[in-house]
């Protein structure tokens, strides 16, 4: 029975794997961009001539 279900399991593993990879990439890109925004805003604030 387990052998018969291998294709079903593989099909759903692929679906969830691609979904998680995509969502993880969104979250990690968002975190890194938020850090960058904070850093750049700090840079603008620290240099009065840039204001």
């Amino acid at each position: 029975m387990m052998g018969d279900m291998i294709y079903l399991a593989a099909g759903y593993v692929v679906f969830w794997l691609v979904s998680f990879v995509f969502i993880y990439s969104l979250v990690s890109r968002q975190r890194s961009l938020q850090k960058e925004v904070k850093m750049l805003e700090q840079l603008v604030q620290d240099e009065p001539e840039l204001k």
Binding site: M5, G11, V14, Q34, V44
Partner: protein, 259 residues
């Protein structure tokens, strides 16, 4: 463009809206997650076995159908939305529509990748091959490659205005592959079943099966869950793109004022 000068008031308002909409985003994410779990239950437990499939491996693999078809629906939806907003971009030249187009293509590609891989896995117990150059499979591959090309085109053009314009025209042309892909199983001789067409050839096709009422209910529930999933992913991807453009703008501002 925002990356060349300070953000326009309208663009800043759009960024503020996405920031202020955090609770809306969280609600959408939770609702979408719950719907996807319910869709998984419907597909794996609630839906009955296809009556005409005898071999156990084929019968189990048939349940890939629910997420395979829903992923294809989401891919088609995403590419059509990308074409529509690209047209809006060409008419209005508002950056917002370029952001939507990029977000939609990226999501569509992720789901089209799932369609191709899950279809190949389903093909093995049903057709006894992992892959065959059937018209539907061939056109799906062309469609997938066309949208890879969309992302490559964006990466190849540095000027943001040109990038948005070229990408919009490309997205409109690439979208022609969507109706051709949809109609491929109706126009040409193919072994891919057309399960949701009226008067379909599902049971005649290799591995095809009729849609009983419960199978149909489970399928439509999965289609609904995937549509909400798409809206949720669009929300977050658009938000991310605005953030990326905000970083670009801040960098440009710093460089401009220092020079």
């Amino acid at each position: 463009m925002a990356t060349k000068a300070a953000l326009s008031q309208q663009e800043q308002q759009e960024i503020d809206v996405t920031r202020a909409g955090f609770n809306w985003g969280l609600g959408l994410t939770i609702a979408s997650g719950l719907l996807m779990l319910a869709a998984l239950y419907m597909a794996l437990v609630w839906a009955p076995d296809a009556a005409n499939l005898q071999a156990p491996a084929e019968r189990y693999a048939q349940r890939i159908f629910y997420f395979h078809v829903s992923s294809a629906w989401l891919g088609f939806l995403a590419f059509i939305v990308a074409a529509m907003v690209s047209l809006l971009y060409l008419i209005t030249r508002r950056e917002k529509w370029d952001v939507w187009s990029l977000a939609s293509v990226e999501i569509g590609l992720a789901f089209f990748t799932m369609v191709i891989i899950s279809g190949s896995i389903w093909a093995k117990p049903t057709w006894n091959v992992w892959w065959t150059w059937d018209p539907r499979l061939t056109i799906s591959t062309i469609c997938w490659l066309l949208y890879i090309g969309y992302l490559m085109l964006r990466g190849a053009v540095d000027n943001p205005e040109k990038q948005a314009r070229f990408a919009a025209v490309y997205a409109l042309i690439a979208a022609i592959s969507v109706p051709i892909n949809w109609m491929a199983i109706r126009w040409w001789r193919t072994i891919h079943p057309a399960v949701i067409a009226p008067g379909n050839n599902a049971e005649e096709a290799m591995g095809g099966f009729g849609l009983s009422a419960n199978i149909e209910t489970a399928l439509y529930f999965c289609l609904f869950a995937f549509t909400v999933f798409y809206i949720m992913l669009m929300y977050h991807r658009i938000k991310l793109e605005y953030l990326r453009r905000q970083v670009e703008t801040l960098k440009q501002q710093i460089i401009y004022r220092q020079s």
